[in-house]
Each structure stands twice: as C-alpha cells, then as structure tokens.
C-alpha cells in the first residue's frame, strides 16, 4: 500500500503506491526535518515500523519478467542510519508488524529483545525488510543505503 512518515510535531505524510506511481507523493521530495518514525504498509496493514532520531530511507524491490505481464513488489524496506548517539534498538511486536525503536537513551524498562548498536555500527543502516512473497520480516545492518 505505501508508507507513512511521522514527525515530532505530530504531523504525518502519507504516500500510497498509487500516489507514488502517479508522482503525487515522493519519499525524496517530502519533508525529512523532524522525522521520528516510518511505517511501511502492505495490503493496508502496517508491516514494518522504525523509530528513532536521524536519517531514514525507504525503498522497494520489484520484479519484472521480460515480456511478461505486470511488475510486482517483492520486498519493502525502511532504513535508519546508525549514529554515535544510538545506543540500542528494541524489537517489538505490534500485531503483524516488525517494529523497531532505536534509542539514544537507555530505556528504563526491561528489554527482552535488543539489537546492541556498537561503535563499529556507526554509519551503517539499520534495515527492516519485508519479503512480500514469503511474508518474512527481518532486520539487519547494511553498509549501504538501498
């Protein structure tokens, strides 16, 4: 379906796949200042959610057979660049969504599932990815913005 940017001032920016295809909406040309969270939707349900402070990026992987009919999104993805202020990331389950919150302060509550962010991870991209075909969600650190 698309993605939503959420900002610290309480506003949001919604982009559906249709809006993107018709160039009504754009990740690159929409607001970045104050961006604190990005939700990725597939089939109108949130499937990935990434929160934190800093630089975010979003991309989709598509598949197209030569001479075939139609093009399919096979992966949806959101990334956040790890900075020196990011200490830890927590993985949460929100319905079917893989939700990750990147903390710059240690949270007070007991954290059950964490991703430690080390000095060597600074500059890398914490990546949440949804495989449309398999339905699997995963997180990983990428050297590059995809």
């Amino acid at each position: 379906m698309g993605w939503v940017k959420y900002f610290y001032d309480g506003t949001s920016y919604v982009a559906t796949d249709k809006d993107i295809a018709t160039r009504v909406s754009s990740w690159r040309n929409s607001r970045f200042e104050g961006l604190q969270r990005v939700d990725i939707f597939h089939d109108e349900s949130p499937i990935l959610s990434l929160s934190g402070i800093g630089e975010f990026w979003q991309s989709d992987t598509m598949e197209a057979p030569v001479g075939g009919e139609g093009f399919h999104i096979v992966k949806r993805r959101v990334q956040k660049r790890i900075t020196s202020r990011d200490i830890i990331a927590t993985i949460e389950t929100q319905g079917d969504a893989l939700a990750v919150n990147v903390h710059y302060l240690l949270p007070a509550s007991l954290i059950r599932t964490t991703i430690p962010l080390r000095a060597r991870d600074i500059g890398k991209w914490l990546t949440l990815e949804y495989d449309v075909v398999s339905g699997n969600k995963r997180h990983y650190l990428s050297d590059v913005r995809i």
């Binding site: 993107i20 979003q58 992987t61 598509m62 057979p65 096979v74 995809i146």
Partner: protein, 181 residues
Amino acid sequence: MTVGILFSTTNGGTALTDDQDMGSGSNGDTITAQTIYLRHDGANNITNVRFYLRAYASSYTGGATAIDDFAEIIGWGDATTSSAFGGVQFNMDAGNSFPAAQWPTLASKSTTYGLVCRTGYGDSSANAITLSSNTGCTSDGTVQAGSSPNVRWQHRVVVPSDEDTTGVRLTEMVFLYDYTS
C-alpha cells in the same frame, strides 16, 4: 506498483508484453542474437538492477515441463565439453557494439561484459547478474530515468551439438530492481 520497468526491441519503443521467440536452431547452432532495450517510468533512477533466469511460470506449451526446460538450459551452460556446451548467453557490451570477444565460450563462461547462465550465475534471484554500465546505464546496476535511456543488451541461445531432443524450450528472464520515490 510504484515503478514499472519496460522492455522493447528499440530504444523507447513499444513495450514487450508477450513471450519472446529467441529463434530456432539445430545441433550446434548459435541462434541469432536479439537486442533488448530497458527503460522505466520512475522519476528517479532505479538501482541494483539485476537479472536471472527461472523456470517459465506462465501457461507452459513446451515439450516437457517448465522445470525440466530450465534445468536443461542451465545444464547447457554448466557443460564441460564442447559438444554439450551451449545455453542462454548474454553480451552487455553495447558501448562497443556487442563484440564477439564478449560472448562467453566453453573456456571463458564469464567475460568482462558477458556470460552464459549456469549454476551459480544467473540461475536464481540470489545469483542474479548486475546490469553492466556498458549497456548504457548510468553505472553498474543503475538505470537512469527517461523514456529512451538507450540501455540495452543482447542475448542468444546456443544449441549444444550433441543435443538429441527436438522441441520448444521455455524459460523466463526476470529483472529485480530497487526504487525510492
């Protein structure tokens, strides 16, 4: 869909929407290469553009099964003898008009800008082949926006000289690419 990719036989030409006949040949034939052009309808570059072959997924009309055809085609590329070697081959050196030296051979199955699809090379999405900048794209794997970017490659089929079964073989060439709006 966010961004569509289009294929044609001329730069910016009518989009292909059906199976492409790569030709017919007898044992040992190198079927005439075809030039295919690629473009997309996104406002920005598409990146990480790569391709691979897979078993034909539409309504199969060949002489065996889609899976058997795919295995056979990959096997032609895997062959270690000249009589058994062949397969679906690619030449991405459009900048030099697809020179003969860039077509793969038994001795050199991957050239600088060419290859034959075989096990581990273009036989799955995990082994997809990055589109070379010599096809006319901006850089390896990155295709610029525009209606006629002049990005193209050639592909052909080489029939092994010891092939003993006639009939139609079907396979699919699939592109994967990333896009940020």
